[in-house]
């Protein structure tokens, strides 16, 4: 069964550094998302992406964040200058052909900012 994959599984970085989290959505899916989960808290929506542009973003998704689909398979989340509070599990998700459909999540990247 096709799955969403994410790399790396764990990323440790110093405060102020840039990180890029990578995702490979399910191949025939058209909608892509990033969510994050701070330890012990709710899963929070960051951004959705469709047709090569952001379709929706939350208040969390400020100018420090950006997303890109650099080729036909990868979907990346970049944090330009990481802060301690960016430490969280970051989940990528994709859904097939409508925005109101099942979202399939990847295993997550645990980001630790020191």
């Amino acid at each position: 069964e096709p799955e969403v994959t994410q790399t790396p599984s764990h990323q440790v970085t110093q405060m102020g550094q840039e990180v890029i989290l990578r995702c490979v959505p399910i191949s025939n899916h058209l909608y892509f998302y990033w969510y994050r989960q701070i330890l012990g808290q709710k899963v929070e929506f960051l951004v959705s992406f469709y047709n090569n542009e952001i379709s929706e973003k939350s208040e969390i998704f400020d100018d420090q964040f950006s997303v890109e689909r650099p080729d036909g398979s990868n979907f990346t989340l970049k944090i330009r200058s990481t802060k301690l509070e960016d430490s969280a599990m970051y989940f990528c998700a994709s859904s097939p052909d409508t925005s109101t459909d099942t979202q399939y999540f990847g295993p997550g990247t645990r980001l630790t900012v020191l």
Binding site: Y31, Y33, Y35, Q41, K42, V43, E44, F45, S48, S55, E56, S58, M89, F91, A93, S95, S99, T100, D101, T102, Q103, Y104, F105, G106, P107, G108, R110
Partner: protein, 112 residues
């Protein structure tokens, strides 16, 4: 309470028993989805129920949706130790946007 609030926060049962988790939400929805998360792992989609549906089954899972009460329940029958995980409900609104709004989750512990 906030959108997508589950109760109880934690549930401890014996193998073979049924587990019921509830979710309440505040705004109108297009659908409600349940996810499972094993400790420190990713989210696994379990079931989606649309706003015009009242009940849905998938294997040992039964989900109900009451839009008049803005609530949903997830029943896991004949639970197994492998069902031990956190369970989250997530709602998707009617605005045309695809954002999932998650609750805080119910932590289920199934003891052998």
């Amino acid at each position: 309470s906030q959108q997508g609030e589950e109760d109880p926060q934690a549930l401890s049962i014996q193998e073979g028993e049924n587990a019921t988790m509830n979710c309440s939400y505040k705004t109108s929805i297009n659908n409600l989805q349940w996810y499972r998360q094993n400790s420190g792992r990713g989210l696994v989609h379990l079931i989606l129920i649309r706003s015009n549906e009242r009940e849905k089954h998938s294997g040992r899972l039964r989900v109900t949706l009451d839009t008049s009460k803005k609530s949903s329940s997830l029943l896991i029958t004949a639970s197994r130790a492998a069902d031990t995980a956190s369970y989250f409900c997530a709602t998707q609104g009617n605005s045309g946007y695809s954002t999932l709004t998650f609750g805080k989750g119910t932590m289920l512990l199934v003891s052998p």
